[in-house]
Symmetry: C2
Subunit: 261 residues, 2 copies
């Protein structure tokens, strides 16, 4: 099932929305985090009747299993430009995810542009490794996304300094990536921290924040992810997504738990 259908929400009473964790959108039986965030954000945007996420933070509480879920929403503030909503996803009798998000219409505002950064340099997608089709990355839900990494990144070649990983992202079958798809994309790559043997294991996400700067142009997205600080039992991962027009469309930051030795 494609992303739009798999993340759709339908009204189910005052501030409540029905949705489902679709088969194949899980990783070893656990709902993909960015996908679950996208479901919650769709419901929150519907609740405040503003189409575009501007800043969404989710805290992951329990793994979600494929099957029906309910999203409860509360509009905390309706402003002239922005509305702020909190929401929670419930499934299997438990709360899986809590989010706080601000929404607008449209995301992109006129204004000055100054960029100290640019899209990652990548070989063309057809020269990259497509993840998940029979390779050793079963955690990647790769029939649902088309994720392509340069050979060094796909091999998780260890590196000095900041740990970085970059690559291409799109949905299969030319399905467009809407602003909610960006929430999936920032969480779809392999963890950059896997390029260190200190954290080359499951690093569960505690919280994920995504800022959306613009609706992406059609075509491939380029993503670049960096982990600089593994300390105190935690690590951060900062992400950038750039669209095919070369625009920064989203930034992300997550806090993840470092596996204990």
């Amino acid at each position: 099932m494609g992303f739009a259908a798999a993340s759709a929400v339908t009204p189910a009473g005052e501030g409540t929305w029905s949705a489902g964790i679709a088969p194949g959108w899980d990783v070893s039986g656990k709902a993909h985090g960015g996908y679950l965030l996208a479901i919650a954000a769709r419901a929150a945007a519907a609740a405040c009747r503003r189409p575009d996420p501007v800043s969404v933070t989710g805290h992951f509480l329990r793994p979600g299993r494929p099957g029906p879920v309910t999203v409860t929403t509360e509009v905390v503030h309706r402003g002239r430009r922005f509305s702020t909503v909190r929401a929670a996803v419930e499934g299997g009798g438990a709360t899986l995810l809590a989010i706080l998000g601000t929404f607008s219409d449209p995301t992109e505002q006129a204004g000055p542009v100054r960029l100290a950064g640019s899209p990652p340099l990548l070989p063309p997608p057809e020269q990259c490794v497509r993840l998940g089709l029979g390779d050793p990355f079963p955690r990647v839900f790769n029939e649902r996304v088309d994720l392509r990494l340069p050979a060094e990144d796909a091999a998780l070649t260890p590196m000095e300094g900041p740990l970085r990983l970059a690559g291409w992202f799109r949905f299969p079958d030319a399905e467009p990536v809407d602003p909610f798809g960006l929430l999936v994309a920032v969480d779809a790559f392999l963890p950059a921290a896997w390029r260190s043997d200190l954290a080359a294991a499951w690093t569960p996400t505690l919280g994920l924040t995504v800022h959306v700067r613009a609706r992406p142009a059609p075509g491939w997205l380029r993503g670049a992810f960096t982990t600089r600080f593994i300390t105190g039992g935690y690590l951060e991962e900062d992400g950038e997504l750039w669209d095919s027009a070369g625009r920064l469309v989203a930034q992300s930051r997550q806090l993840a738990l470092v596996p204990r030795p």
Copy 2:
């Protein structure tokens, strides 16, 4: 009034806490953002009975005025290591701030350490400019914090590339910076974006996320702040706080609105 007293919360019924925006903790009559976030986080931590914030995100809805406020809290999840709480600060009949936070005890966990970054190089505090005591920065609530910047940073000297600003932070009168004080510190510096004439004006914070990595050691904190992307009507500011023992104690990221030309 010192930080601990100015940010104290007292129980006021099921899930509800009384607090106040103390005089002097405002900037031109508006409650300082990080300070308001600290009040909300204190109530949230009290609600879940876990002392240390791990990741806290606040979305700022309306300016807070000095005077009494109420914090309503809801514990969304109680786990073995972490509890997640949402809270809202109300004052003057309106909701000022909504937060989502995860709390733990203690913040710092054992684990591997790998740092691709270090504290900013700064002249000693006595060779820096103390902000706010009669200088042109009235927005800084400088009798409440002791904030010192190198001359170039204090002068907001324009720069190429990423916009950076760094300096020293402590509370006056040797008041220790507890983990909630870190929420003030990440929002206490001048905006790094002010080193560009594109955004050298009031840049209201839409959302602020703080990750706490460790309880700070006594003494000065060093803070470093960077803005790389001004686009789409928004800018991000990423911060790091380092304690006197040279440890990374917090990271922050905020999304702010770029003033319209």
